[in-house]
């Protein structure tokens, strides 16, 4: 009998689900190879179906998205119990991802922002005997690994078909990689970047430009053109999709295994190449990066050293 | 540039130093600089206050500074060295000692006056030197100096401890100003020594001896007049020459001017508006140097 696999989404955009579909005909191989027992976005299974399964009966659960509410937490724990292997699928599950930027505020702040004076949602609504409830909305978004034990991580926003394929291969194959492995090369993106050789050996920048301000040259290193490309600090594996598309890397593959805080390192590398020793001038150059947290922690705020903004 | 400065006359400008204010106003008018006198100003806090109760001295001068701020002045000109010193001292101490800053601040609030804000305290000598400049003054000279050589006497309070108006040990700006209008000055090594200050009123003979030394040395160095920047100095040096003549038995009768009188004269002010008639000593020289025929405006080309 075919091994069982499950897909689930927590706080995510759905892109990771798309990525699975994007496997094209490979999806069929997958379908042939495995038995999909749970995939809310595509197939009609219910929570209780999963509850009904014996523990460890699922070979692998692919969970994407971060944990932002009590329902996601519950499902994550449930799938953990039922699965032999849990794969954090995509950067939201791995590091917190875009939803993690909500950690610059908290539940109160977000609701105030989103609903303003409108009708704010209530946890429990009762109406002649019927009741509707919403999951608890946490103050802080966390990555999957912080609430359940995760076996493997698939980086990316979303993971590319290539690394997904490789991951499936690995899981179905005989020798599993060591627990905790991030299933992508442990090297920075420059290694895969077609523009690598065009970066000058001693690059120093007098100013940073933002993507909407310039039409970047197609060949030369984007950082050398003043664009805040985070490739040097970002794990390889995507084959430099964005640079190939003439856009700077924004870091969705997260850091290498040797870096504890993606943002801090990216910040250090970027600031270090400013071509000025004068505090005022340096400040002026940096004004071109108006939102450091948004730039450096775009995908990794919850898993960063500080984790979230400290609210008064 | 017709600049306006806040103006704090200080008490002596309305007493022994009337001639100082008269000549100052005349001179500034001639240079079209306007002085806007503080409304309802009060004692600067000098002398008795400062030596008996520093606290209230600071409050008094803080009030003046605060009034200046209220009137929208960033710069406050005061001709009196004592006023200048106390106002600066208040700012300085408030900046250095939080407790003083607090007591001053609180009292100002109580009197609902604006807080002690950055007002620059200026002295006319240094305003003329820095803001107007020697060249511009030179260019406005309309009279030849017919008097003798003069000794520029700076006294103590203007240049010490705050060295903003001039160099503390060998100030020269008054000399430079007078030379600019063609007045010969002597090398006067006593230019910052004590004039006797308030001692002339308290331990009289000591005070008088001190300004006797100043006068004698000026004469010895060939000066025929002394020029001052401080009302108290001017008064001390001017008022006791008769007494000195009696005791020291020396033929001493030397005019003692305010620098503003000499400058004002060179720039065309008339004797009365410069308060030249108010002098006690050296009237003969004054008659001669500032006589009618000398007053006729000569043209420089």
């Amino acid at each position: 009998m075919k091994p069982k696999v499950a897909f689930y989404w927590c706080a995510s955009c759905g892109g990771c689900e798309e990525a699975v579909v994007d496997l094209d005909e490979k999806i069929l191989d997958v379908a042939n190879a495995v038995d999909i027992v749970f995939w809310p976005v595509a197939l009609d299974f219910k929570e209780h179906d999963v509850e009904a399964m014996p523990d460890g009966s699922i070979l692998a659960s692919f969970i994407n998205g971060a944990i932002r509410n009590s329902d996601q937490l519950k499902m994550a724990k449930l799938l953990r119990a039922k699965s032999q292997v849990v794969v954090a699928f995509g950067v939201c599950a791995q590091l917190g991802g875009i939803p993690g930027l909500a950690n610059l505020s908290d539940a109160k702040g977000i609701f105030a922002e989103v609903f303003k004076d409108g009708v704010a949602p209530v946890r429990l609504h009762q109406n002649n005997g019927h009741s509707l409830s919403l999951p608890e909305f946490f103050d802080t978004v966390v990555e999957l690994g912080r609430v359940i034990d995760v076996d493997y991580y698939l980086p990316g926003c979303p993971p590319t078909p290539k690394i997904i394929g490789a991951a499936l291969g690995a899981l179905l194959g005989s020798d599993l990689p060591p627990k905790g492995t991030v299933l992508a090369p442990d090297q920075a993106l420059c290694e895969e970047c077609p523009r690598k050789d065009t970066r000058p050996e001693k690059l120093l920048l007098k100013e940073f430009k933002r993507v909407h301000q310039v039409v970047a040259d197609q060949q030369t290193c984007l950082l050398a053109q003043g664009l805040a490309c985070l490739g040097p600090g970002t794990r390889a594996g995507c084959e430099a999709m964005c640079p190939r598309g003439n856009m700077p890397c924004t870091g969705c593959f997260g850091p290498t295994s040797r870096v504890r805080d993606f943002g801090a390192k990216a910040l250090s590398a970027l600031a270090s190449v400013i071509d000025s020793d004068d505090e005022v001038e340096i400040a002026r150059v940096l004004d071109a990066l108006p939102d450091p947290a948004g730039l450096f922690y775009r995908y990794s705020l919850p898993s960063s050293l500080l984790g979230r903004r400290r609210m008064e | 540039m017709a600049s306006t400065y806040g103006y704090f006359p200080g008490c002596s400008a309305r007493g022994t130093g009337v001639a100082y204010e008269e000549s100052l106003l005349t001179l500034f008018r001639l240079l079209n600089l306007s002085l806007d006198e503080l409304k309802d100003w009060n004692c600067c806090g000098a002398t008795s206050y400062m030596s008996i109760d520093e606290g209230s001295a600071f409050l008094l001068s803080a009030r003046n500074l605060s009034r200046a701020r209220q009137a929208g002045h960033r710069e406050l000109v005061t001709p009196c060295s004592a006023c200048y010193l106390v106002l600066r001292k208040t700012q300085d101490y408030a900046a250095r000692y939080p407790e003083i800053a607090k007591s001053v601040g609180d009292s100002l609030v109580a009197a609902n006056l604006p807080p002690l804000d950055s007002v620059t305290v200026r002295h006319p000598m240094e305003v003329l030197y820095n803001d107007v400049g020697l060249e511009r003054i030179k260019s406005k000279v309309v009279r030849h100096w017919r008097g003798g050589r003069v000794a520029c006497y700076y006294g103590c309070q203007l240049v010490r401890p705050f060295a903003e108006a001039d160099r503390p040990h060998d100030p020269t700006r008054m000399d430079e100003l007078l030379q600019a209008v063609g007045v010969p000055t002597i090398d006067y090594s006593l230019k910052t020594k004590c004039c006797g200050g308030s001692l002339t009123g308290t331990i009289h003979e000591v005070g008088v001896r001190l300004n006797y030394i100043l006068l004698k040395e000026a004469a010895r160095k060939g000066a025929e007049a002394i020029v001052t920047i401080c009302p108290l100095c001017q008064y001390n040096l001017d008022a006791y020459q008769g007494e000195i003549r009696k005791h020291a038995g020396e033929p001493l009768d030397m005019p003692v001017f305010f620098f503003t009188q000499i400058l004002g004269w060179a720039l065309g002010g008339d004797a009365r508006s410069l308060g030249l008639g108010r002098a006690i000593s050296g009237r003969r020289s004054i008659e001669e140097w500032f006589s009618k025929h000398a007053e006729e405006v000569e043209s420089y080309v």
Binding site: D186, Q187, A188, L189, C190, E191, K196, D197, R199, P200, E201, K202, L203, L204, L230, G231, P232, G233, A236, P255, T256, R258, V259, R260, K265, A266, S268, A269, S272, V273 | R167, H169, D170, D187, S189, L190, I213, E217, R220
Partner: protein
Amino acid sequence: MSKANGDIRIGVYVCHCGTNISAVVDVKSLAAYGATLPNVVVSREYKYLCSDPGQDLIRQDIAERKLNRVVVASCSPHLHEQTFRNALATGGLNPFFLQMVNIREQDSWVTEDKQAATRKARDLVRAAARRVAWNESLERDRIPIHPAVMVVGGGIAGIHAALTLANSGKHVYLVEREPTIGGHMAQFDKTFPTLDCAACILTPKMSAVKSHKNITLWTYSEVTQVDGYVGNFKVKVRRWPRYIKEDLCSGCLECLKACVYKEAKFPDDFNVGLAKRKPIYISFPQAVPQVPVIDPETCIQFKSGKCKKTCIDACGERHAISLQMEEKTEEVEVGNIILATGSQPFDARRIPYYGYGVYPNVYTALEVERLVNASGPTGGEVVLRDGRTPKSVAIVHCVGSRDEGTNRWCSRVCCMYSLKLAHLIKEHTGADIFNFYIDIRTPGKGFEEFYQKLLNERVHFVRGRVAEVTDWALDPSEENKLVIRVEDTLAGIVRRIPVDMVVLSTGLEPQADAEQVRRLFNITCASGGFFLERHPKLAPVSTFTDGIFLAGCCQGPKDIPDTVAQAGAAAAEALALIDAGFVETEPNAAYVMEEVCSGCKTCVAMCPFSAIEFLQEERKARINQAKCKGCGTCVAACPSGSIYQHLFEDQQIFEEIEGILTNA
């Protein structure tokens, strides 16, 4: 990167340092606390850990308790890290398994509250214990020492250092900015307290320098660039043209006589302006090298091109004079550098109330040195600028010394040279002499005796800082005199003392360009601006830059005996390195994990020593271990965490932080 793997066995050692530490930090409880920390198998406190028995304690435990890591909580690593590393090494443990905790300089000595000090010590020990678990076994590299030495400054300090080195067979480059060596000492007449003539003891050493086969003497030159590090410095020296070829000039000085200027009319620096020189001149008769200089600022030929060039005619067949001579730059390699750049006298004009520059009869001590000097502008006659011989002379001590307004330090030499000048002036003129002093400081061999001698010579001493030197006269006795106004703090009265001549005993200051020189050689200045020695007691001639040593007044005011002693010490330090043949480096170089480097090149721009090369083949960065100085800037910059630094690994520092902050 190291792993805290295997069985970590840490020994913690807390030093009392007599009572320096134990009087403030509770060493007993600290040691007891150390014992409770993870991986710690033994924790002790001891009176003096740096002593032999103290070190034995550590060696013993390494042997008996099988320690493989050691934490020493004592003084600053700058003082004793080496000591304890040796203790580990001789105990059979790799020296870099040591972690020091600075609980003296940075705790017991700066903290009043004993509990707080002990808490601080606990945090630091906890941090060290965590860190040391990750320390690795490292080997030192050896850098060969180039045997040549450069001595900068040709005063008595530089001369003595150069001769000492040269005599031991080492090659020395002696660089002097002036046209001659000799420095200030050459300007002096007699030297205290023995009163032997400065020239008589200096000039032989000067000519010894000139004739020494191991000394390359570059006068009228200055160092413009210093690269490299201990063992192999590369130094560039700019040599100004003196327009007279040293190799051809015989020093006959005919050219001086022949100069179209019959009268000398330009201020003569060597005589501090008291005499005049011609555009072509020699600083003083015994100058070394014995070669004149042409000053293009004043020479007619250079100014107008219309000179008869009589000097060239006078030189005749020698053709030593070459007006086409141009500035040139020499570049040499040396293993060590000795800085003997000296000091400058305080500018008396900065104290206006002493009237220097205002009253012609106020002199500085250096001017008077020239006046009393037989080869000086007046042939040794002490006469005033108007030619009169002074009948009364005031010597004002501490001008620009021990003074909040100018320099706070005591210049150490002024008391003695003032006494010397008092003696000499009295000898020359028989004048009444008044010394005005704060304290008389005569802490040297024969100094106090000299002072007593002066007292018997009826020289007057008035204790009190002079208020002012002035020309205003109260009565006829003061007419045409300079009046000293001073509070006589012994008599308790204010005195006015009229004199004919005033001598200002100016103190010593750092050279005007000490700041640039310090940067050039990458060393530090102390607060006063004099060069900072590595340790005031234990390394008085070393600097924080290995291979650069200090001698003489550039390190602080001192007299000739001390200067010469220090110069000898500096030479000895250099010799020690040269004869050892190599220095061992601190193994703290950074290195790239090439298999994971992505070749982003961020690091390449970080290194000011171009130690990081980008390998075109592999398309990765590599750090030249010999060139790396171990600052770690590239490590902090590497965005993929692929650069590491021995002794300062990320892991080790994270452990330290963790240790500091995990509350006990």
